[in-house]
Amino acid sequence: MPDLIHKTMAMKKRLPDRSGQTLRMRRYNNLQTATVPLGPSGVTPPPQTLSALDIDAKVEWYGSYVLITDQVTLINEDPVLNEAASLLAQSLRETEDSLTRNMLQATAGFINCTGGTDADNPTEMTYNDIQGVIRSLVTANAKRITETIEGENKYGTGPVRQAFFAMSHSNLIPNIENVANFIPVAQYPSQMNILQAEWGSVSNVRFLVSSLGSISTGASALGADVYNTFISGQESYACIDLDGASASFIYRPLGYGDDPLLQRQTAGFKFAEAQRILNDAWIINLRSTLSL
């Protein structure tokens, strides 16, 4: 089973049942600062105006099932239905992960890597490209997700800064390791609170990798595959479940429905979910190609 990384950094929200199909979220804009003295005149200054952005997410239903005949269960040595249930669970979670990945790929703001030397556009990922993303996120007041891992007196280790998380495809591992100042997970001073899919860190970014990472096929200027690395701060995007429909396993035994000879049984899953970027300034898709 691949590592499922794309929902890891998402806010979890719920749409109450019987509330329609769309969840409306509202973010109020910051007020201006009030740096001018009120003065002695006693005149009341004008009020500021509240303003907000409405962010909507529309829940969609997804589902799939397998059909297993009576003969399959009678003839096969394997417990086929048990295997099917396990595979359906995997398919459900991979579907959820892929949906979030696809949403990020389509709607997250992007920056092309340009600091590399592979002559393509975008180039391979470099330290300066990552620094550009960090600058954008911090300037937009995105909050780092993890705290600093303080240095310890252990040979070959180094402190890890408070960090944003990056979600990448596993094909990028050689390029990520080749970025200047890369620290592999094994060289973190503490192995506490490390995610299973974590590969290492560069500056203020910790990388998660998965074979389900995002690829835009043949999308570079020279026709190479472009790898999308989503670098996220806190609360940048959300996955919204519909109450009562977050995930269902559905089994229909032999003879259910139009099956007079008890030949067919089905097992499947169904769920309702929406995915949405909440603040586009707090997540950036760093596009790069492979050079290794």
Binding site: K58, F110, A140, T217, A221, L222, G223, Q275, D280
Partner: protein
Amino acid sequence: MATILTGSFVSDGTQFNLALRSGYDMFQLVNITDVGSAAANTNVMRAWGSSSMPDGSAYLNLKTSGAATLALESMITTAGFTFWDSGNPPTFAVNTVIGGTAASPVVINVTAHGYAVGDTVIFKNLTGGGSQSLSGLQFTVIAVGDADHFTIPFDGAVGLTGAITGGSVTKIIPNPFAPRNIVIGQTALATLNGVANQLTFNLNEAILNGTTNLMFGTYSVGAKLRLNIPTSFNTTTPFLPTTINSLIGTITAVTAQGGYNSFANQVTVQLSTPIAASTLLQYPVGAANFRRSYPFVSDIAEVSTILTEAEDNKGFLGITVGTGVQTTGKLYQWFARKGYSL
């Protein structure tokens, strides 16, 4: 065939998409209007296709002109039926670009391109006329001149220094989530349109839902966009003020660039922050400007009064009915069938 679904439509002669949620294997059209007609025409009477046939192909029966009989069954390989599953999008052939005009809009010459209006294409390895910087960018096909020529929404008269001389192009199925981020690719990238704090700019791709394309975005009046202009674009002369990067604007108009077609790709936004008067924002061209990040718009929020702009998965499972399997004004009944494999 275990499952049959049916419906009907009166043809307006245009290509359209029909959602068949269970993924049907066979699709058939029957002309109801002309049954028994001996009129002098060769209207489409019957057409069918299967999911295993090449995209755009169909078997076809036309009416015999002047008789109430069917002509012999024929075959077409374009403008027929295309079965779609955007969860497993097909890949398309890489075509060689022979050339492109430095005109407005740019007309691309590709032998037997096979594209239809509304398709999304991506260019690679473009050469000539400073077109290298357009490589890697997606464009909507806004017109098809003939089998060897198609048009993209780009002003080559301003944006190119000469004709495009080579490269390659591929059709793609864009990511189904909408509204997508879309590159601001037009050479005359942004113009002050004479109204305070308003900007008008052109996008590489169509942005309204269309009947001939599955994956258009849904930007519309009232939606809020963020303008993302990479720093590198501010160093190109003439340039857009650096102050415009990351500003948020509300869409006040959505139109078709230069009236090229009905595929809207021109957006006017009202910015909440005052901006200085500016000249045109030029898209940097040529090899020296090849390696850049692109300017783009991203959807950030919705019309404040109605729920119209939710970010949405527009994934599609169904069939595209092409122009070659229908006759304008005729009532057709359709049948979709799905079977079990033995």
